[in-house]
């Protein structure tokens, strides 16, 4: 789910870079040295998991795990995802350098939203409720990714309306898959390492 180079209008690229830079600075300010292993692990997991392809019709969907990354990192998702996206652009030509800011916003903004949603919906000690909340957050994060990407395309050219709608519908199965994956991962962490998950009662 990367926006390719040469599609977005230049002012939009600039705006996206500004938003990504703001998110990056804010995320870096909230990152303590002891958070680094988690940030690095999430960045590496995102780097790898986006290569997992799910064949669907003539094309393929890619997992993104932005919901899970967001739940675990919050605002720190910005530096984690920026580094992973930069390496994907440089090593595999996924996306591109000029469009890196836009791709970071597409991926990281819904991840931050996922963090706050999870905090709001996980005020329970019941593992099943936690899993359901995480699943919903995971599915919504992917929805957010696709909607922001569609917004970028539409702001560039209204002619992208049909392709953007196609991309949105095409990703509906991925929303379900991401929801299940996020629910399972969070349910596992809730059982074995609850301290890794955000505390709904603690400071954001």
């Amino acid at each position: 789910m990367h926006i390719s180079e040469g599609i977005l209008a230049t002012p939009l690229l600039g705006g996206a870079w500004a938003a990504a830079a703001a998110g990056l600075v804010y995320g870096m300010r909230r990152t303590q040295p002891e958070d680094m292993p988690r940030v690095a692990l999430c960045s590496a997991a995102f780097f790898v998991v986006t290569f997992v392809r799910i064949p669907l019709g003539p094309a393929h969907l890619h997992l993104a795990a932005t919901g899970l990354v967001g739940i675990l990192l919050g605002w720190r998702a910005f530096p984690a995802l920026l580094v992973a996206l930069l390496l994907q652009a440089v090593l595999f030509q996924f996306g591109g350098l000029a469009v890196l800011g836009a791709n970071t916003v597409v991926m990281a903004l819904p991840a931050v939203g996922a963090y706050y949603l999870y905090r709001r919906w996980s005020r329970s000690a019941d593992p099943r409720r936690i899993a359901v909340a995480a699943g919903a957050v995971g599915a919504l994060a992917i929805t957010g990714n696709v909607l922001i990407m569609a917004a970028f395309l539409l702001l560039t050219d209204r002619a992208f309306a049909v392709p953007a709608l196609g991309v949105l519908l095409f990703h509906v199965p991925l929303m379900l898959v991401e929801g299940v994956v996020t629910a399972l991962a969070v349910a596992f962490l809730f059982k074995v390492r609850r301290d890794l998950l955000p505390n709904p009662e603690g400071p954001p």
Binding site: M1, P33, A40, F47, H60, H62, Q88, G95
Partner: protein, 153 residues
Amino acid sequence: MRFNLWTLLFLVAPLAWHSAEGHAVEGALVEGAIGVRFVYEGDAPVRGAEVQVWSPAKDDTPYAQGLTDRNGGFAFVPGTAGTWRVEMNDGMGHRDELHVDVDVDGTATAVPSAIHSHDLTRWLVGLAVIFGVFGCWALWGRRVQAKGAQEKS
């Protein structure tokens, strides 16, 4: 009056023939066409992706453009010898670029795609850089913290 009609027909007939000939289209097989094929990892064809062919002359506009067929294939007929560049973009974040060297006698040699090969080295480099970047950041952060604590005491 009859004479005039026949004269008119006589004059117009060659024009009509010429006009019909101008709209006629004829297809024929050509030799020397170059076919390329794009596949995802796992050999699944890249269908309906946008393809642009750039000539060795480095023109501002592509020599040919179109979409890959259902097998991920695309063909073009190179006009001159040199290195031709074939770019593919599926619009979903996957791009590929193929360089085709065409000799004077029309023999074509494709330079293997450097972009598509998701080799292990790149994965390892990517993961090493990620852990390296955040590892260095953690060390730097600890140093700053230690310095701050030292200054306070």
